[in-house]
Amino acid sequence: MSSETADPRRSQTVDRGPLAHGWVIVRTYVRLGVLNVAQYRGEFYVALANVITLATQFVGIAVIFANTSDLGGWTSAGLVALIGVYTILSGLIAMVIQPSLQQLMEGIRLGTFDFTLTKPADSQLLASVAVVSPAQALNIVFGAGIVGYACIRMGTMIGPLQWLYFCLTLVFGAAIVYSFLTLLGTCAFWWVKVDNILVVFSAVFGQAGRWPLAVFPGWMRVVLSLVIPVGLAVTIPAQALAGGLSGWLVLASGSVAALFFVASRAFWRYALRHYTGASA
């Protein structure tokens, strides 16, 4: 094995550990997204249009609660908090996860993904932060605002432990959604155009993700927690605020997140081993 000692032609690289390097990469691509923000002008309007969707959602909730005092154990304020969590997660998806996956598919189709593979950095990381659309951060802000509003409406004090649980499970939820989408996106290595599968996810997330797991019958709850875990990702953080979580649930949520993350990583590695590249 040839050594790397004193080759006078090679200057020193700035050698950071992999974690610091990873952080630099994320920072760089976020900066790139901001540089490109003129391209994403349309995205601002998309984010704003989302306000209308949210408005209809709120009207819907109002209508529901005009007819009943609780929905599967959830109060009106709890449901609003859930919508807030949903909006935060969907903002994250729209800001980074989805556009980067879009880029991955394009890259595999056109062969420019090869460039990602030849860089001395984790290919999954590079592929995951490739495109950042900062305009969608608006949704994250909206979502946070809605969560705040819901908490005020709830009236009851939310203890610091539940706040901690909320933050933790929100991160877990983000990890779940990211890992799941990456799993789907990795299928692009075989099928190249996986837009259709992503559309199915969008539909499931966009429809089922706006409602608490409690309204779903048993078998659907299982599907939405373990198979397409959008329900888990959204409901649990909301529950921390609305009703309170037990430590076990937090642990369970974390385990599901870890499971999906490890699976997405393994699948990615597997895909790379079998990567055949775009036609020469």
Binding site: S11, T13, V14, A38, Q39, T112, D114, T118, K119, P120
Partner: protein
């Protein structure tokens, strides 16, 4: 250690490709049963490249040269075999390995489309962990070499293909790779830009001693840059050696065109008498002003002399066969024969008539015409 920068041993890559007929019935059947076909893209290739060498891979489309390059750059996992570049196994994609190699593909750009080129470079700076000082110094050097000063502030979108390729090169070399994999780097570029890129690559190789492995359709690339060529066809290595050797081994023809002086003609019969009986076999063509004869390289001086002395020649031109034609001939022969031919001592001559029938009997020496 042996010291070869690149060592390839029995490298093999086989693809499994699904196969299907057209039509609805076939579409339905394919849901139930998938028919597949094995395609051997690369079959047991072995070679070694020393530090500082520039090697050209020649081969028709689908020959396996890009596949080989991709395996060496770590993109593809081979089906079997071994390869080492600077001691690294490429497809393990060690960070250390990736940090010292570069892959540049013609017509594919990794520059960000909408932002100034120099901002794309900063991306690479972050990924390759180049220090500020190094980045500045190397950018200056590359800007000089490639004349990029006007281009750096423009978004890639606004550059022409040639300008983009120059910027692509610069961006890919900021981390001073020790091995360059170039896949059809000059495709689509105009002649002037092709020359520019070639001289740049030669310069980079001279300055840094980097190994350069390049695939190209353009013989001009290979002629200008590569002292050594590797011919790959149907996934097999047909030839590995100096380009001049290859050309000579295939022993191309030369074309002698004689222009007869005003008012003079010669008939085929006259030519036949002049050249001896072999005229009937040799391709002879009448032009407006004279005759054109195609003869094996070895025969050329003799035939030319006869024509010059035997005919009222006003002008004579002797032309090489274009190298493309030479290479086409190479691909037309069977692997075995060419390998045998190149392994032999250079006196093996091969008759042109026999080449055109796509068989090279080895060891045949040319007698007197």
């Amino acid at each position: 250690m042996s010291g070869a920068a690149v060592e390839v041993e029995q490298l093999r890559k086989t693809y499994v490709v699904p196969e299907r007929d057209a039509g609805i019935k076939a579409a339905m059947t394919s849901l139930v049963r998938r028919r597949t076909r094995s395609v051997a893209a690369v079959q047991e290739i072995s070679f070694a490249v020393q530090s500082g060498e520039v090697v050209g891979f020649l081969g028709p489309n689908g020959a396996g040269k890009t596949t080989t390059l991709k395996m060496l750059s770590g993109l593809l996992h081979p089906t079997s075999g071994r390869a080492e570049v600077f001691g690294f196994t490429p497809w393990r994609r060690d960070r250390d390995y990736l940090g010292r190699m570069a892959l540049i593909m013609g017509q594919r750009s990794q520059l960000q489309w909408d932002i100034p080129v120099v901002d794309s470079y900063r991306l690479n700076k972050a990924v390759f962990q180049i220090s500020d000082a190094d980045f500045a110094a190397r950018l200056d050097e590359l800007t000089d070499l490639l004349e990029l000063s006007d281009l750096l502030r423009k978004p890639a979108r606004n550059l022409s293909l040639g300008e983009r390729m120059k910027c692509e090169f610069a961006g890919s070399l900021l981390h001073r790779p020790q091995v360059l994999f170039l896949d059809e780097p000059t495709i689509g570029l105009d002649v002037a830009m092709q020359r520019r890129i070639r001289s740049f690559v030669a310069e980079y190789n001279r300055r840094t001693g980097a190994v350069v492995m390049l695939t190209s359709h353009y013989m001009a690339d290979v002629e200008a840059l590569c002292k050594r060529v590797i011919v790959i066809h149907h996934g097999t290595l047909l030839f590995d050696g100096p380009l001049a050797e290859l050309v000579r081994t295939v022993a191309p023809d030369k074309t002698i065109t004689v222009q007869l002086s005003e008012g003079n003609t010669a008939s085929r019969a006259d030519l036949a008498a002049l050249l001896g009986g072999s005229v009937a076999e040799a391709p002879v063509e009448e032009t407006d002003t004279g005759w054109r004869v195609k003869v094996p390289a070895a025969d050329t001086p003799a035939v030319a002399a006869r024509l010059l002395t035997g005919l009222p020649v006003a002008d004579v031109t002797i032309e090489d066969e274009p190298i493309e034609a030479v290479i086409e001939k190479v691909f037309a022969v069977t692997a075995q024969e060419l390998v045998q031919a190149s392994a032999q001592i250079p006196s093996a001559q091969i008759s042109s008539a026999q080449i055109s029938s796509a068989q090279i009997p080895s060891g045949q020496t040319q007698g007197q015409p």
